[in-house]
């Protein structure tokens, strides 16, 4: 049965505790940087180095991750599922989680790392988050309707952040 609540911080805590290398992207990344938007899932891009895949799998097992499109049976991701450039849409005991091999124009963890920043999410945890400017760039290139809808808020948030920094 899918969970009725989302606990983004708990998912991030479990991943950080297992020393998984990942970058938070998507709506949660935007919110952490001040964008007033709503999202219901946590998106992350993971490093696909073998040791990291093993750590990620352990973390996913500990939060009962399974593919959310299979509502009639619980299919858990395997190591081979994680070593792909595509997207794994998972349900977990702490809410929906999208594990992404790449985003945009096939940008993986190592491509995005330079455009990320470490963010303190409380309770002694810091996670790597895709910078807002890069997130906007990725969304602009995708050009889908759902991306276009949110772009004005993201752009104005970035402008306001830059204005406040200049003061």
């Amino acid at each position: 049965m899918p969970t009725r609540t989302s606990n983004f911080r708990e998912i991030l805590r479990v991943l950080a505790e297992q020393k998984v290398q990942f970058i938070v992207v998507g709506g949660v990344a935007a919110v952490l940087q001040g964008a007033p938007i709503q999202t219901f899932d946590l998106d992350l891009v993971h490093s696909r180095k073998p040791a990291n895949l093993a750590r990620l799998l352990r973390a996913l097992e500990s939060i009962d991750a399974h593919f959310r499109e299979h509502k009639d049976r619980k299919i858990k991701p395997r190591l081979s599922n994680l070593d792909i450039s595509g997207h794994l849409l998972l349900a977990t005991s702490e809410g929906p989680l999208d594990v992404l091999g790449t985003i945009g124009e096939e940008l993986g963890y190592s491509d995005l790392k330079t455009d990320s920043v470490l963010v303190d999410i409380g309770q002694g945890f810091r996670v790597r988050v895709l910078k807002l400017a890069k997130y906007i760039e990725v969304k602009e290139k995708l050009g889908r309707e759902k991306d276009k809808a949110i772009l004005p808020i993201l752009r104005r948030t970035l402008e306001e952040k830059q204005r406040q920094k200049r003061r």
Binding site: R4, T5, S6, N7, F8, R9, V28, V31, L32, Q33, G34, A35, P36, Q38, T39, F40, G95, V119, D120, I121, G122, Q123, P152, I153, R156, T157, E160, K161, Q164
Partner: protein
């Protein structure tokens, strides 16, 4: 010395007043209709507080959805 201290005390509220006046002069909406006051409020919070708010809002909406499956 006493006079200098008093002068400093008097200067503080005036600085606050000026910055508050400056804040009031900022537009509430961008030209493309984005509520800038909401953005400024979010930016006044720490990332941890922003995450808390996102989580609270998400869970409130999920609860309402669950209570109204016909919607």
């Amino acid at each position: 010395m006493k006079t200098k201290k008093r002068a400093n005390r008097a200067a503080k509220p005036r600085r606050r007043k000026l910055s508050s006046a400056k804040a009031n002069s900022l537009p509430a909406y961008s030209e493309d209709g984005v509520d800038l006051t909401l953005i400024r409020w979010m930016l006044s919070l720490t990332p941890a507080q922003r995450l808390d708010i996102l989580q609270q809002n998400t869970n409130a909406i999920l609860e309402i959805r669950h209570a109204n499956p016909h919607l």
